[in-house]
Amino acid sequence: MQLKPWPAEWMRAALGLSVLRTLAPGPTYGYAIATALETAGFGAIKGGTLYPLLTRFEAAGWIAAEWRPGAGGPGRKYFSLTDAGQQELTDQAAHWQLFSTTVHDHLQKGPAES
C-alpha cells in the first residue's frame, strides 16, 4: 500500500491519463472515479482536483456527461469516454509508456558515456 503521498508534480502529470483510463470500462461518476484511483494506489483524490480535470476533458470533447435522475433530485452526473477520448487515451497511454520506459532506463543505466 502506498503510504507516502506521491509528489504533487508526478500526480499532476499522471492524473489526467489515469482518469481517462478509469472511464474506459464504462460510464461512472465523480466519487466512484476518486475511489477507483485511491484503490489503485494514487492516494485520496479531492473533488477540487478531479472536477476541474473532468470539466477540461468535457470541454475538449474527450468525455461526455449525463445526469441520471435520482429519487429526490438531479441524481448523479455520469461521465463516459467519447470516441475522441478513447483515441486520446490510446495515444497518451502509448506515449506515457514510452516516457516511462525512457525514465526507467535512464534511472537504471545513468547517463550515456561520452
Binding site: 474506459a24 461518476y29 472515479i33 441520471r68
Partner: protein, 293 residues
Amino acid sequence: MTTSNPRDHDNSDFGSGTSRTADSQSTVAGGAIPGDAAAPGKPTGIRLDETARETDNAAWLEDLTIELRLLDVSGAAIGDTVASAREFLADAGTSAEESFGSPKRYAAKLDLPAVATAKTNEVALTTGIGVIGLVVFGQTSFPLASGDDDLAVRVWMLVSLVAMALMLPLIPRVIPVLLRARSRPVVVGMIFAGILVGGAGPVLLSVWWGQAVLFTVPALPIAIGAGILLVGPSIWNQVRHNLSDDPILQPGAESDQRPSLGSRFFVVVTNWMMVFYGAGSFVLIFVFSPDNQ
C-alpha cells in the same frame, strides 16, 4: 450499460452512506459511516457534527454560486457545477472546504466560460446614475423643506458631485467584496464606514469652506429630475433582473431553482437601498425642518 463504478447503476438519493465502497469507508466513534445522517441509533454527538458539516457545506455551495456569478458563468453551468459538488460531498461525507478548497479558488480552477462580460459595467453605470440622483435629490430637499423655490448651488455641492464621480470606478471592485462579506455584518459595516470616512470626509471639509453660492436654479424641477435619476436605475435593474435574468438551473430541470429567501431579499434591498435612503432622508428633512415645526 456496463459501468465501471463500484456502485453500478446506483441511482439512490444523495447522502446514502451505505452505498459507499468498502475501500473508502472510514469508521468513526460508534462504528458509524460519515455522511450517513439518517442512520438510526447514531450517537448524538456524531449527528450534531454531521448537521454542522451539512450547514457549512450549504453555506460553501452558496458561496460557490456567488463566485461563479462574479465570474459571469451561465446559470445552467452554475447549477451543474453546484449539483456536482453537492453529489460528491454527499458521497464522500466530507466538508466542502476539505474536498474542494475555497469557493473562490475552486470557481477559478474550473475555468468555465463567461457569458455576460458587460454586466459589471452595467451595474457600475446604473449605480453611478443612482448615486448622482441621490446626491442631487438630497441637496434639493433642504430648500424645498424650508419653502424656498430656488436651489443655491454652492461650491461644496459641485465638489461632492465630482467626488461621487471619482468614486464610481471603485463600485465594480466594492460589489464583489460586499457579496463575499455578506455573512459578516461587522466587515460590511467596516467597509461602509471606510467609504463614508474616505468619501464623505473630503465632501464635509468642502462644506466647511465651500459655502460660496455659484448660481441658483429652480429646486422643484431639479428635485424631480434627480428623483428620476434615483429611481430609474432601480426600476431598470429590477425589470432586467426579472425579465432577462440567467436563472440557475438544476441539471435536467426546465424551470429555475429559486434562490433562498435570504438571497432574494438581499438582492432587492441592495437594488432599492439608495431609493429607501433618499426617500427616508427627504421625509426626515421635511419633518425636522424648522419651517415645518
